[in-house]
Symmetry: C2
Subunit: 355 residues, 2 copies
DNA sequence: TTGAAAGCGCTAACAT
DNA sequence: ATGTTAGCGCTTTCAA
């Protein structure tokens, strides 16, 4: 401790009067060590203040016990909650490198490259813009790869893809809008370089077509999936196209839409029906309560962690997973006032949440 | 590429017909390399698909270009937004290990130990429960440490502490409640093992005392800072103590309070005044609009990144920083209806947000 | 049950 | 301008 130099294994070995290997044995709980020796070494570890150096260990074992996570937008509660689920599950076994791309392809690519350079044991990628093939090229098959939302089927054996059931969700949302009596239904889509956006738009179109409703291009507009950006887009859309309902790519955008409507003195749902996607906590707090398509985000995050853990332990798993969604009808569509009892029930469920 | 083995520097060297050092030189942009050689090596890198191994490099340089971040609750927008700010600033230079403690001391300790074991170049700690001295012991002085919210002054020269101006904030909040005509003002505090909670409670008490108002213990209650937990606590508090206003530790709890009030058919602000802390986006979306104390969270996150970066470059910085707060008066206190113009202005500012 | 030696992939002196 | 050598801190054969 004299020179504040970080203690190494040989320091411990010296102090304990044993070889470096013995120290290693103790640290890695090797069975064949005398209790006496173990004690001695343990003692020495304390006195010199030894801390195992993960880097050195990783260099030789080839395992870093770290996994890389890439998300498009950390400030979207959807992703932060999912990330929490993932971290909770992996805690103790793995540390997480977290990269936020801000919906930017270049940053996504760099993040993935960085993480690979760091020899992460696995990669969890949310809403990537890079396609499956390109991804497989980049990542290879050496480490488990879990993607959430990827157009293609898993390519390498070590690749698991979870797809949220966007198509069904978008269809349910749009059908609900139709059933509520809305006729001129617009769609504020997310970034079209993400499969999620394309699928949700597709579901929207299918529902309209099936109902025999027209689906002019002018009613679909795509933006960065943020509250402000959506609000500004909707302001224009509302003035130029006069839709009587809007299905939004996600809840953040739907809330932006609520704001835009309010700004123009339009009443939701009477003048404008709104449906979102995700069911982030905010959705049950805004006024009116947002009708949306629920994705159990914390659970989805955990699932990513579970699958990653399983692959890392060499267990087999499904490689193509469809994550279910559920339409949550609240107040933002016509013909759907909630009853008093329903409101109370929602309140109670919010109050009952553990987190 | 034959055996899918990961290419190493010597592979590149072999392919290029140069020594391993030359490859290293090219990779590290060493000036004295012929363009010709550089080209050759670059070529070889491509063909063998070489990727520098960060671990090996770190082992010898002693720098990992990674920094560890520990937060108490990732699903609180306050922290996810701050984290995004931090990541944005550090992106390109450093990768972030993110640990979420779920407000748990043991998990906090383990996270810090893990990160140190991983030889992070720096540590950013939010709302820790570990005290300054203990922390200094754990972390030492070898790497920069940035803490947000720590009771003590920075201990080691390499330690920077940012304190949000909790005392002022809490006092402003409480004074506003008093000025609004509320008399029986309760406080729903956060976890008392965090200095943040203690300071905010102190500010609350100071304001009451100064106004000559009583401040009985029964009006202060402490919980885990989550929406649901707060809502449940407030339900009891409301029934047992009948306060006419509540100052909450943070916005999540304030929103929980709004819910509890709604559940009991109390009108906010007429029957109950509520003030929060943080000004997370939700605060301007709930009904009524939440009066709160703003912390510029994204900026605060960036600031952490900046300070860390500065220390890492060896630059000097302030070591004790007081981060300012600002009372944002909205609708959740009596005697403060917002004017139409004010509402519109708020709407416009939300719509104008870039993210 | 413990020790000695080799080497993980890279950088940093020092030669050349 | 390029090559040689040593060694970062650890695990892993293999031998004792």
């Amino acid at each position: 401790m004299s020179k504040k130099r970080i203690a190494t294994m040989s320091d411990v070995a010296a102090h304990a009067g044993v070889s470096i290997k013995t120290v290693s044995n103790v640290i890695n709980d090797w069975p064949y060590v005398t209790d006496e020796t173990r004690q001695k070494v343990q003692q020495a570890i304390e006195t010199v203040g030894y801390r195992p150096n993960h880097l050195a260990r990783s260099l030789v074992t080839g395992k870093t016990h770290s996994i890389g996570v890439v998300v498009p937008d950390l400030s979207n509660p959807f992703f932060s909650t999912a990330l929490r689920g993932c971290e909770d599950l992996l805690f103790g076994d793995y540390n997480l490198f977290v990269c936020n791309t801000n919906e930017d392809l270049a940053r996504e690519q760099q993040s993935i490259a960085d993480l690979l350079s760091r020899s992460v044991d696995g990669l969890i990628l949310w809403g990537t813009r890079i396609g499956g093939e390109q991804l497989a090229n980049l990542v290879g098959d050496a480490i488990p790869l879990v993607t959430v939302e990827l157009s293609d089927e898993p390519i390498s054996p070590n690749h698991i893809n979870i797809n949220v059931d966007n198509l069904t969700g978008a269809r349910l949302a749009t059908e609900h809008l139709i059933a509520s009596g809305h006729k001129r239904i617009a769609h504020v889509a997310g970034p079209m370089d993400r499969i999620t956006s394309r699928l949700r738009q597709q579901g929207y179109q299918q529902a309209l077509t099936q109902a025999g409703l027209p689906c002019p291009e002018c009613l679909v507009t795509s933006t960065r999936p943020s509250l402000g950006e959506a609000a500004r887009t909707v302001l224009t859309l509302l003035e130029e196209q006069k839709p009587d309902a809007i299905f939004c790519f996600n809840d953040l955008m739907a809330i932006g839409t609520l704001l835009a409507a309010r700004r123009l003195n339009l009443r939701v749902p009477d003048d404008l029906g709104v449906v979102g996607f995700d069911d982030i906590p905010m959705a049950s707090l805004v006024n009116p309560l947002l009708t949306t398509v629920r994705i159990a985000q914390y659970q989805l995050g955990r699932l990513c962690g579970e699958l990653m853990g399983a692959r890392l332990r060499g267990e087999a798993t499904d490689r193509q997973i469809l994550f279910p969604v559920e339409l949550v009808v609240r107040e933002s569509c016509s013909a759907h006032a909630m009853t008093h009892a329903e409101r109370i029930a929602l309140l109670d469920s919010l109050i009952a949440t553990r987190y």
